[in-house]
């Protein structure tokens, strides 16, 4: 059979199959009421949106790491309550008051705190947070619904509330927004990997891990390489210039933690440190003159590592050694 004849046969077959394809297309149109975009129909969108809003009751002491709508209703006088919110490192948290029914005059209160505060120690510390302490508390009884939505400055926030009258309470909607350059972060997990970037910003950023961990710093860049000239990286340390410090302690506030190591010069290649403290913080101090970046991995220390330290260990404070 010649190639030309074969080609002609192929074309004939195609033309014969084409009408069948059209009829099949018509069947689909009938089934979908002539909606070619079946996956994006309004009903489907509505169904998906309705399914995605998570709702549950809020407890007196609670922790939330997902978006949704949360309602607190007092069954009995609840005098000392708090709820922690935590998102992914690259997220802000937005707290929106949907409904509030509390008796402010009677002593009830509902306050949002920008960060976490535990036993009087706060994260981020006053040195690392852009707002003064007085502005980090947003009091519903003072502002009312004029500040109906409050957005955090980092991936953590919390509320304090008191509701004395049974039946009173409030409803909040928690949402997250993207944060392109996370600065102050509390890790949700004891294992992970993160790159902290501070691009030409005069600010201090802390990454907190509330577990005893082994940290492996794989890359540290302090300064910016201009294509034509090599800028001398800032010789930080001793509280001067740009540097990274590792902190360990038993509280939440990085300014009250013990510095365990200072990293003053850029390097590549892993440097590991085991920090057996309740809280481990990687803190970057930036002058704003450079683009600083540090990449690190961390994993939870096993019990045998905590019990049997080797090398240089500071047992009287925390277990830490290189």
């Amino acid at each position: 059979m010649s190639s030309t004849f074969k080609l002609q046969c192929h074309f004939i077959l195609i033309f014969l199959m084409a009408p069948r394809g059209d009829s099949r297309s018509l069947e689909l149109r009938e089934a979908a009421d002539y909606d070619p975009f079946l996956l994006f129909s309004a009903n489907l969108k509505r169904e998906l949106a309705g399914e995605q809003l998570y709702r549950r009751a809020l407890r007196c002491v609670d922790m939330l790491s997902l978006q949704g709508q949360f309602t607190f209703t007092a069954n009995q006088p609840q005098l000392h309550c708090a709820a922690f919110f935590i998102g992914e490192p690259e997220e802000f948290i937005t707290i929106h008051y949907d409904l509030v029914s509390i008796d402010c005059q009677g002593g009830d209160f509902l306050k949002v705190f920008d960060g976490w505060i535990l036993k009087g120690e706060k994260f981020p510390s006053s040195q690392d947070h852009p707002l003064p302490m007085t502005e980090r508390y947003i009091d519903y009884c003072e502002n009312g619904l004029s500040r109906r939505s409050v957005r955090s400055s980092q991936n953590v926030a919390m509320i304090f509330f008191r509701v004395q009258e049974p039946g009173n309470g409030f409803t909040l909607t928690i949402k997250t927004d993207p944060n392109l350059f996370p600065c102050n972060v509390i890790s949700q997990t004891p294992n992970g990997r993160f790159t902290l970037v501070v691009p030409h910003q005069h600010r201090n950023c802390s990454f907190s891990i509330i577990y005893p961990v082994a940290i492996k710093i794989s890359d540290l860049t302090l300064g910016h390489l201009n294509g034509l000239q090599l800028k001398k990286s800032s010789a930080g340390c001793g509280g001067v210039g740009d540097f990274v410090e590792l902190l360990g302690g038993a509280g939440l506030d990085p300014s009250k933690m013990m510095p365990l190591a200072d990293l003053c010069y850029p390097f590549h290649g892993p440097a590991q440190m085991k920090i057996g403290c309740d809280n481990t913080v990687v803190r970057m101090v930036s002058s704003g003159k450079h683009i600083n970046r540090v990449t690190f991995e961390y994993r939870l220390l096993q019990p045998y590592e905590l019990e049997n330290p080797n090398g240089n260990s500071i047992r009287e404070f925390c277990l830490s050694h290189l």
């Binding site: 995605q52 922790m63 790491s65 069954n75 006088p77 000392h80 922690f84 302490m133 007085t134 949700q188």
Partner: protein, 188 residues
């Protein structure tokens, strides 16, 4: 010799000078650290358990520019944590909620803000006075609120990690549920 004498005199002078209003003082059990400043009003000295007037006052500590308030039983030491070690999620019950309620009520009653008084319903005359001074009191109240000690929660790291892990489990369960629903919808 003369220098030594001058330094000693200076130290004595400083020691004998009346100290400025001291807002930081410790609760009972630390009488040596307690200070008294009778000449000046103590806006923060308002934790007074009524039946025991001799007990030293505050649960409130001041550290530099920051305050932190430990909400708890005034009969206990200020270092005692607020929440019990067990079951912080079971309705948030406290060892002595009534005492804590009285403690906080006493705090509020000491403050010079009639609107925040819990047990004194305002008369019509008082309403008129309040409306006349509303603007001034609002500013004063706002200033007072800004100076109020921040509220904190005494929770151990162990409990914090537990609730965090519960939150993570909830998040993963919800994500699995959403994925399952999505697959059911798309598969229709």
């Amino acid at each position: 010799m003369r220098l030594t004498l001058l330094m000693s005199a200076g130290v004595l002078l400083v020691a004998l000078l009346p100290c400025p209003p001291c807002r930081a003082f410790l609760s009972r059990g630390l009488d040596s650290g307690a200070r008294q400043a009778p000449q000046h009003p103590q806006p923060l000295d308002f934790f007074q358990p009524p039946p025991q007037p001799q007990q030293s006052q505050p649960v409130l500590l001041r550290m530099g520019e920051e305050y932190f308030l430990r909400l708890g039983n005034p009969n206990k030491s200020p270092a005692a944590p607020l929440s019990p070690a067990s079951s912080p999620l079971a309705g948030g019950s406290r060892p002595s909620p009534e005492e804590a309620a009285n403690f906080f009520r006493a705090l509020l009653q000491q403050l010079p803000l009639p609107r925040r008084s819990l047990n004194s319903p305002a008369s019509p005359g008082e309403h008129e006075v309040e409306s006349a001074l509303g603007g001034h009191q609002e500013a004063a109240e706002r200033k007072r609120r800004s100076e109020e000690p921040p509220i904190s929660l005494d929770l151990t790291f162990h409990l914090l990690r537990e609730v965090l892990e519960m939150a993570r489990a909830e998040q993963l369960a919800q994500q699995a549920h959403s994925n399952r629903k999505l697959m059911e919808i798309i598969g229709k």
